[in-house]
């Protein structure tokens, strides 16, 4: 499986918004398993789903998803 460098803060922002995985899944029109996969970093959502998620949680997409630069990755290695 191709590793991804995308990390996310979906779980934190969902909990701050007092939403369950089921609530968020219903609003997004996906299954709860898909929300779980996104939170666990096992699925990178489509751009549209990412924007919808940000809109529902009232934050910016960059608050939900991060993509570390080459330098940041190098520092962590």
């Amino acid at each position: 499986m191709k590793p991804t460098r995308i990390t996310n803060e979906v779980k934190m922002h969902r909990q701050l918004a007092s939403m369950t995985q089921e609530d968020l899944a219903q609003r997004l029109g996906v299954t709860r398993q898909t929300v779980i996969a996104i939170e666990n970093g096992k699925y990178s959502p489509t751009l549209e789903t990412a924007f919808m998620m940000a809109s529902i949680l009232g934050v910016g997409v960059e608050d939900l998803f991060q993509y570390p630069s080459e330098e940041e990755v190098g520092k962590n290695d």
Binding site: K2, P3, I6, V30, T31, Q33, T34, K42, Y43, T49
Partner: protein, 139 residues
Amino acid sequence: MNYQEKTILIALPLDFIIFGAYGIWLIPQLSEGIENIDYRTPVILALVASVLLTIISQILLASFDHKQANVEDVRDKEIRRRANGYTLAFLAAPYLFGLILAIAEADYFYIVHVMLFGGVLADIVTSLAQLRFYRRGIN
């Protein structure tokens, strides 16, 4: 586990059972020569059984899990799309081999079985790929 994953987990063993049973019936007869094997009816029965049992199992699953029945979201579609790449790759080889056998005027027995087991293998590989994507994730 989501609904699509359950449908795969039900359909996959059916492939092994039905075509495994056909293989068990076929293999001991090979030593007697292929011209003596009446494979047509068992092949058709295996294909019909595969389709019917898959439909019946899907209906039963939908009746037990009717809230999630036939729900397919973007992740399911992406997983299906990626797994279909394996289907095409695994179907291409038996298709070409079957074509070569037909051009070479090989016995129908070989052509039928290359196509049959090629199709079954492609189906199994596709299902396993989908399960792997569900478990390991896709990025």
